[in-house]
Symmetry: C2
Subunit: 470 residues, 2 copies
């Protein structure tokens, strides 16, 4: 299996002038990076770094075994799989599906799919949820082959809880007492609101493993179950992740893509380029950029460092899509403020390519006829890379030899280790999310949850604004 590679030449001064980083600076950082890598190797598998061991036994054997057993038990007849979750309990599921299944997957008849249609609710928008429920509830025999997969460690995330109460009620109404056989809960194995519900109602469950935070959970049952249900090769995914893990454990820093990527991006952040664009030239990888957005933003965006000093650390992840965003964002990326680093994702070889046929009589378009779409796509990527270099805009490329589960697994582990390493460089806690608490409590207050009454008053007092409305 070929590895995915990181090409960072266009981050350096010899390509992008004063907006780049000098090779001697990178060389000088090697001892520090070796020491950070050693530190990560020492603490791996402890505390909140237990995500790091997901691609390895015994965690892997346990999770894959349980997931496969459950997929087998549910059988090949499931027609709709509805995932309930949000944030880290949805982004990975969506990203794996988009990367490794056709864009038309849900439209296909059952015999052309490897599994059920997949719906990830991922919000509490009444129209979007209503439309999905109307669709799946419309055909009674098909609805009887629906599985609801609720993902929540505690069970108390308001959005997931609302989705769950709704779907549980629908299952119960339409299927009667056997409805519990149609629920798979991925939750805390020992405690919490969802655990108690599972125990009371007898759902099949899979664990959210201890020490694995939401945004680092895609290679746990959280991401693996829906992937396996839809026929994604989860062993290849974990193999890829394990291989990348080895490369990113290397003290030979110049051979360690995570250490280099983390250091470059944190250097750029310090040097006035805190906007980090991920721009796949491949539609299927676009949702992985969404997954990256959470990982990068929530892990690194921190007010205080580990010593308690106020630092307002962080970098802003931005997702873009090639070639599409050449016609939308590249004007800004080349001529606007030089405050970005652009990361391209490139697929070297597309499994099913398409040749642009001959036969149109138009002289100015002859050059296209007889060439493949992937040739055009990758030429556009290369042209954009060139245009950015010409404007002294640093950029790098993560190259996928092909688009498959093995490569996607590598990509996931690469960014997770890169994030952990960037957290060390910034000297912040990459695993907490303290700023999300205020919003949760304010929501409870506004929704009338007992015990949070004062929050409603605080919000109402702070937000009244009839004057400045036009």
């Amino acid at each position: 299996m070929s590895p995915i590679t990181l090409d960072y030449a266009k981050c350096l001064t010899d390509r992008v002038g004063k907006h780049g980083i000098a090779v001697r600076d990178l060389d000088a950082a090697v001892p520090e990076l070796a020491s950070l890598t050693e530190s990560l190797n020492r603490t791996r598998g402890t505390g909140w770094q237990r995500w790091r061991d997901l691609p390895f036994d015994p965690a892997r054997r346990e999770h894959v075994g349980k997931v496969r057993a459950l997929v087998e038990k549910l059988g090949p007849d499931v027609e709709n799989l509805v995932v309930l979750g949000i944030g880290g309990s949805a982004l990975g599921n969506i990203a794996l599906q988009a990367a490794l299944k056709p864009a038309t997957y849900n439209l296909l008849p059952r015999d052309l799919r490897d599994g059920p249609r997949l719906f990830v609710l991922d919000n509490v928008d009444p129209h979007a949820i209503g439309q999905t429920l109307t669709f799946i509830g419309n055909d009674d025999p098909e609805f009887r082959r629906t599985v609801v997969n609720v993902i929540s460690k505690s069970g108390e995330t308001a959005e997931t809880a609302a989705q769950f109460i709704l779907l549980r009620s629908m299952l119960k109404r339409m299927l009667g007492d056997g409805f519990a056989d149609h629920v798979v809960a991925i939750t805390d194995p020992a405690r919490g609101t969802m655990r108690a519900i599972c125990d009371a109602e007898g759902y099949a469950t899979l664990p959210v493993p201890e020490g694995v935070g939401g945004r680092f959970s895609v290679l746990s049952p959280v991401g693996l179950f829906s992937a396996a249900m839809c026929g994604i090769d989860i062993d290849a995914l974990l193999d890829g992740a394990a291989e990348m893990d080895k490369r990113c454990s290397s003290n030979d820093v110049l051979k360690n893509p995570a250490a280099i990527l983390a250091w470059l991006l944190m250097q750029f952040t310090k040097r006035g380029k805190p906007n980090h664009v991920l721009m796949p030239y491949c539609n299927a990888l676009y949702m992985l950029a969404d997954w990256y957005r959470q990982l990068w933003a929530e892990s690194l965006g921190k007010r205080v460092d580990l010593s308690g000093k106020e630092v307002f650390a962080g970098a802003t992840p931005i997702k873009a899509l090639g070639t599409t965003d050449q016609h939308s964002q590249v004007q800004l990326y080349r001529e606007g403020p030089n405050d970005k680093v652009i990361g391209f994702l490139e697929v070297e070889s597309f499994e099913e390519d398409i040749t642009i046929p001959h036969g149109l009589d138009a002289e100015n378009l002859n050059y296209l006829q007889g060439q493949t779409l992937s040739t055009l796509l990758n030429a556009e990527k290369r042209a954009t890379e060139y245009a950015l270099v010409e404007s002294e805009r640093p950029n790098f490329t993560i190259r996928f030899p092909r688009l498959d589960a093995h490569a996607v697994g590598q990509f996931i582990q690469l960014w997770e280790i890169t994030t952990a390493c960037a957290g060390l460089i910034l000297n912040i806690d990459a695993y907490d999310q303290p700023a999300v608490e205020t919003g949760k409590k304010a929501t409870f207050g506004l929704m009338g949850r007992p015990g949070y009454e004062q929050w409603k008053m605080k919000v109402d007092a702070a937000l009244d604004s009839s004057v400045q409305t036009v």
Copy 2:
């Protein structure tokens, strides 16, 4: 019809402290803004500002008449509408469809849809295009009811041309000589490569109006045709745009939402907040944030001002989705660098709401039961707004009374006029995109188009980078 409103109270110092803007600064800017508004009123409908008159006769009468006649001629039996275009010839089409049609639209049986399934290709990704073509080509009787809508002013945009050559060949192969009846081209009425092809092959055509750039074209036939085909009320859309246009023509600046929005966002840009997030609390509006991304980035991201001085102007548009991104981006928005302005989109009343039912025995979740999803969604928005204010992060809200074509039309015209006004404030040309040219020429070179040979050599020389690959 109720208007959409702009609530900018949380941009001001009394809410977000030193990170806000003082009311006296806004008051002091009123004369300048009145003069900019007058200037826009004077030049409207001239040069590249002819988009401004799209919601008004005679342009409107002409376009709506031609669009409706063509929709009627094609009849109600069209099963697939495949839009070929990219950038400004795709983003608006996608955004209107997402905003005003169900998320499950393409999944629905024909009698539950108001028109054909809609596929907007919008890229040259071989997998995505192959999957779509396999899907529509799979059923021969349905394929006979396919209409291909190619959108390109010149016909020479490489991506659209490649899509077109491919689809034309497929139509011709499967439908024979009558294939031309299945093509609708939206192109230059008088000249260019696509015009010549249309004349030679006899396609139905609609005009890309003179003086309307791609990113300002959604309310021309470019956006209206696919919308009307899918049953969107294009008159309501244009009515909304016309009403907003009147409000944004007002010299009474404090009643002019475009002038205020443009001024606030350009002030924030000057004051270290050049990242402008648009965050709908409504799935259907998410793709309008993509449309906004092009408008804002490509119009304002400019190296030189009108005097030729190097300024590297521009602001970085970012799209986000509430509540989903509360679990992904809000940690960064509250605790990371204070370099953003967050724009919320809120829908006050959802036409079809859903009540979270009673019946789950879980004390911590009782507060949700019996409430509606829209109550939860809007409480989350309000909670996030509050949390941002607490962290001194400026934000504003554009409030939709309801989600309909009238409101969407207002929103579109609001942002287009805001963009024009911001261009005046920055003293740049908001209507060109010079930086896109290099990439186009480099692509031609890499694809072997005659006359561009030297570009391939330049690119290859600039990009070789085996050394820095890991």
